[in-house]
């Protein structure tokens, strides 16, 4: 080592400004619709006009007489008419003679040289369907479940069992049972869905666009397109928000665009306008959840029984995994020896639901966190004291039998949230339905407490083995630098920035020499989809290790080339060796590129060898790590208009090591705001005609700058030591717990519990005035 002792700059833990911010504030970042593609055609999807029936005919009209136009139907599908997804049941396009299962189900795709021509032609296709009666909503499905459970049409079921439920209820002194409902939610990324499929000379395709998980189309469309994975290349353009909405759906969209592209030989772009995007892309699943809980006089939970039914829509797509995540979060945060949780994916004739930040967990946590307050009330305990008593902490065993390690900051989150929000005092001052002296509004405060499992469920990561590469390269300025090659996509969450920080620290190199190009399956190994709060924890670890691997290679090369075989260390962008003059990274890397041609570090993610998971019984370690949070919501309700205002939200968060506190806080504030919309205003459902009943921004209302409360966000760090730098998942956690915190605050304010979100003024009015048609 040299005598130089000054420490190189560390970026992990610092609020490094985003690497992609400049183009975004200047308006120079080119999203899909900002790219001037020459000579492309425009595709329009032709859809079923009814929610259910037998497709009899697809009849193109006179608009199809002209040139520069193509109509693709199921007959044009080169292979088997099925999109793989999770159960291989959903056709890419409905077949003549086959069953239409939802309104808007794609039947054909028209492509033409101009968008106007394509739209006109699409309107000129007549779809003939023999209609059948549809089952449209979760309400109908739950009614069937309640009257004749065996008659419920389920696409997937799963049960979690811990201990002996009957014994648990026998041991109980009291029981509380209640149902909770949650509706659909639209992701409402500001950039609508879109992509372009370019047919290639060799018969392969390239799909480019606003795609959250580039490897999904690569592996989901092999059968219909009759193309092996290496003949489907997918690359990301800058994504204007996704939140799960561009996870599963771009696979479908790639399939739709590929058919006319392959038929015509022209590149075909499909891009939705807002109206089409809201009507015909997946939403968050509506869920009905019922909790029956037994407990002793002292509050000890002796039994938790739970039914969790989600509306999957017409096809399973990915709903099984959403249901799994849901049931795994139904009773995760509390001590109880006897638990049964039954999850079901119900089939309805509505648009298939899909991924949205939280992925089943917000609905589960909405239920249990409302329910915990109900139990506390029955016991005559305060909600916070009760949670402090029974919450899960290190050493406790989850419903699947996983022992929580001491890398869980559950208690710290709960205590700090109570302290920072001054919860106990504010709860004492809550209105409880009576305006106190001087009060013009009902005031209330509510608490929620929860965990979110990071990364794929069970042994998913062990099986998947996320791969990544960090390579030495000549950058656009001609000088050497580093390219991060992983399939994680930048959607706004900040992965390009935090992976730059991680690689810079691992290599001890100036971040200015590091690039993270957009994911392109032709160039990056499969590090898995950018989902499941896995990216920083899992792929961040892959980047870290791959960067260390490359660092070793650079040091070995430098030792021989510059230091006569003496050990060298890359530190602060220089190669140092004891007693020798340092050599700059630039000099060493140039020499390495000149002599070896290329160099890259590689890593494949591993899980600890002792991880256990049984997918059949749902027993074992359900997630590699858990992030924790406690939310406190402070609200006011106008007694006349029943208008609700969320004044202040405290969110204490344990996501392990915080890589970038600024982007992390931004994730929490943004997630909380989506959760606020979910909780109090975003309302959309399947209408009688089978279409969503809110189709525009005039009718689907999301929070504006006037609606957001004051946020108090703080992190407590309990790092995941197995995967340096020690991050746990963050993306979904802020979406999970605000709705029940607000419902609990409403209860404190008006003395009534609401059991259905969104918690609208109409619902509050109905709760306050049961005689006028509302239910208390």
């Amino acid at each position: 080592m040299t005598k130089r002792t000054s420490k190189p700059v560390r970026l992990i833990g610092k609020g490094m400004p985003r690497v992609d911010a400049d183009g975004k504030v200047r308006g120079t970042t080119r999203y899909l619709n900002d790219i001037d593609y020459k000579g492309i055609w425009h595709g329009v999807v032709v859809r079923s006009p009814v929610p259910r029936g037998i497709l009899r005919a697809i009849v193109p009209g006179p608009a199809f007489a002209g040139d520069n136009l193509v109509l693709a139907t199921a007959k044009d599908i080169p292979g088997e008419n099925v999109v793989h997804m999770h159960d291989r049941t959903m056709p890419l396009l409905a077949e003549i003679g086959g069953e239409i299962r939802y309104r808007g189900e794609p039947v054909a795709v028209v492509a033409a040289a101009t968008p106007e021509q394509a739209a006109a032609a699409a309107r000129d296709v007549r779809i003939e369907v023999d209609e059948l009666p549809p089952l449209l909503t979760l309400d109908e499905a739950v009614a069937i479940f309640k009257s004749a459970p065996g008659k419920l049409d389920t696409m997937k079921e799963q049960t979690i069992v811990k201990g002996d439920l009957a014994q648990g209820f026998t041991a109980a002194d009291d029981v509380v049972e209640a149902e909770y409902w949650a509706g659909h939610q639209e992701q409402l990324y500001l950039e609508n869905q879109g992509l372009v499929v370019f047919p290639q000379k060799d018969g392969s395709i390239l799909s480019e666009g606003s795609i959250q998980c580039p490897y999904f189309p690569v592996h989901e469309l092999n059968d219909p397109l009759k193309l092996p994975p290496e003949k489907i290349r997918v690359r990301q353009t800058p994504i204007g928000g996704a939140f799960g909405g561009k996870e599963d759906y771009p696979t479908m969209l790639t399939g739709y665009a590929a058919l006319p592209a392959l038929k015509s030989g022209k590149p075909v772009k499909i891009t939705y306008e807002r109206n089409e995007d809201i009507l015909f892309t997946p939403k968050r699943h509506p869920v009905w959840v019922r909790f029956k809980t037994g407990f002793k006089k002292d509050g000890t939970l002796t039994a938790i029984e739970c039914d969790y039914i989600l509306d999957g829509g017409a096809y399973l797509t990915i709903s099984d995994v959403v249901m799994y995540r849901g049931i795994l979060h139904c009773a995760l945060a509390y001590r109880c020896d006897n638990v049964v949780i039954r999850g079901k994916v119900a089939r309805t004739n509505s648009f298939p639901c899909g991924a949205f930040r939280g992925f089943g967990a917000p609905q589960a946590i909405w239920g249990i966190e409302s329910h915990m307050d109900a139990i506390a009330a029955r016991l005559g305990k305060t909600p916070h004291e009760y949670r402090l008593q029974v919450h899960a902490r290190p050493g406790d065993v989850t419903p699947t039998g996983q022992t929580l390690s001491d890398e869980n900051g559950s208690t710290a989150c709960l205590k700090l949230a109570l302290k920072r929000s001054d919860f106990a005092r504010k709860l004492r001052q809550a209105s409880r339905g009576k305006l106190r002296k001087g009060q013009k509004k009902f005031v209330g405060v509510g608490l929620s407490f929860f965990a979110h499992g990071s990364a794929f469920t069970g042994d998913g990561e062990a099986k998947f083995k996320a791969k990544g590469r960090v390579e030495l390269a000549r950058l656009e300025d001609g000088k050497p630098g580093i390219n991060i090659r992983v399939s994680s996509t930048e959607m706004g969450q900040g992965v390009h920035t935090i992976f730059t920080q991680i690689a810079a620290d691992a290599l001890s190199l100036d971040a200015a020499r590091i690039r993270f190009p957009m994911a392109d399956t032709g160039l990056v190994p499969n590090s898995g989809p950018t989902v499941a709060s896995r990216t920083t924890m899992v792929v961040g670890n892959v980047v870290y290790r791959a960067a260390l691997d490359l660092k070793n290679q650079i040091e070995s090369f430098a030792a021989l080339r510059f230091f006569k075989g003496a050990p060298a260390e890359l530190r602060g962008s220089r190669l140092l060796s004891k007693g020798a003059r340092p050599v700059s990274f630039e000099t060493a890397a140039k020499a390495m590129l000149a002599e070896i041609g290329s160099a890259s570090g590689f890593f494949e993610f591993l899980l600890p060898a002792d991880i256990r998971w049984d997918q059949a019984t749902f027993k074992g370690d359900s997630y590699p790590g858990y992030s924790w949070s406690a939310n406190v919501a402070e609200i006011e309700i106008d007694p006349l208009t029943c208008e609700l205002e969320v004044k202040r939200v405290t969110a204490i968060v344990d996501i392990g090591r915080v890589i970038n506190p600024v982007t992390a806080t931004g994730q929490v504030e943004g997630g909380l705001t989506q959760a606020l919309g979910y909780a109090v205003m975003e309302k959309i459902g399947t209408g009688k005609n089978g279409l969503y009943d809110a189709a525009r921004l005039q009718t689907y209302i999301i929070p504006t700058a006037l609606d957001v409360p004051e946020y108090d966000v703080k992190f407590v760090e309990y790092p995941y030591s197995f995967a340096p730098p020690g991050a746990k998942g963050l993306g979904e956690l802020p979406m999970d717990g605000l709705a029940p915190a607000i419902a609990n605050a409403i209860e404190a304010a008006i003395g009534r519990r609401l059991r259905q979100i969104p918690l609208t003024p109409e619902a509050i009015f109905a709760a306050l005035h049961p005689a006028q048609g509302g239910t208390p």
């Binding site: 911010a21 500001l190 705001t673 504006t704 006037l706 957001v708």
Partner: protein
């Protein structure tokens, strides 16, 4: 369809444009002039992603027929704003406080912030919230955007505003 001809001042430069009657200002900017910084998200005046400044007033360009703008109209888009001192302060503040995520709403936010600070260089939090109420952002929860506008305002020298 009749063709309309106009001469406007866009981002400080005189520009002659021709477009069919009924064409939206947003399309003239993005497609005819290549000013792709203004975004389209809802296309019906609800989200503010397409906000530009027309004769000192912020407007949503997706529902404004371009033909309604007379000769001599001054239009400022995000591309022109960075040449303004306050515009640059706003952009820098957005970067510094971490107000940018996916970025799709950000040009509209920058434009609305600029319009606000030109009128009211020391806005209260309430005034900022009101000034940005027509611009939806699905990523950030607005908190850092509001903080960025405050920071930019604090850096406007008292004498040289705008």
């Amino acid at each position: 369809m009749s063709t309309i001809r106009r001469t406007w001042k866009i981002n400080g430069k005189t520009v002659a444009v021709r477009f069919p009657a009924g064409r939206r200002l947003l399309d003239v900017l993005r497609e005819d002039l290549g000013l792709i910084g203004s975004k389209e998200s809802c296309g019906e005046g609800e989200c503010g992603a397409c906000t530009v400044i027309v004769n000192d007033e912020p407007v949503v360009s997706c529902i404004l027929p371009a033909g309604q703008l007379a000769d001599g109209t001054e239009i400022l888009t995000v591309e022109g704003i960075e040449k303004k001192r306050v515009g640059r302060l706003i952009q820098q503040a957005f970067i510094e406080v971490g107000a940018v995520q996916c970025g799709f709403c950000i040009p509209g936010m920058v434009v609305s912030s600029y319009a606000l600070l030109c009128k009211n260089p020391k806005p209260s939090t309430k005034a900022i919230r009101e000034g940005l109420a027509g611009n939806l952002c699905r990523c950030t929860g607005y908190t850092k955007i509001i903080a960025a506008v405050k920071l930019a305002a604090s850096r406007i020298p008292a004498a040289k505003r705008t």
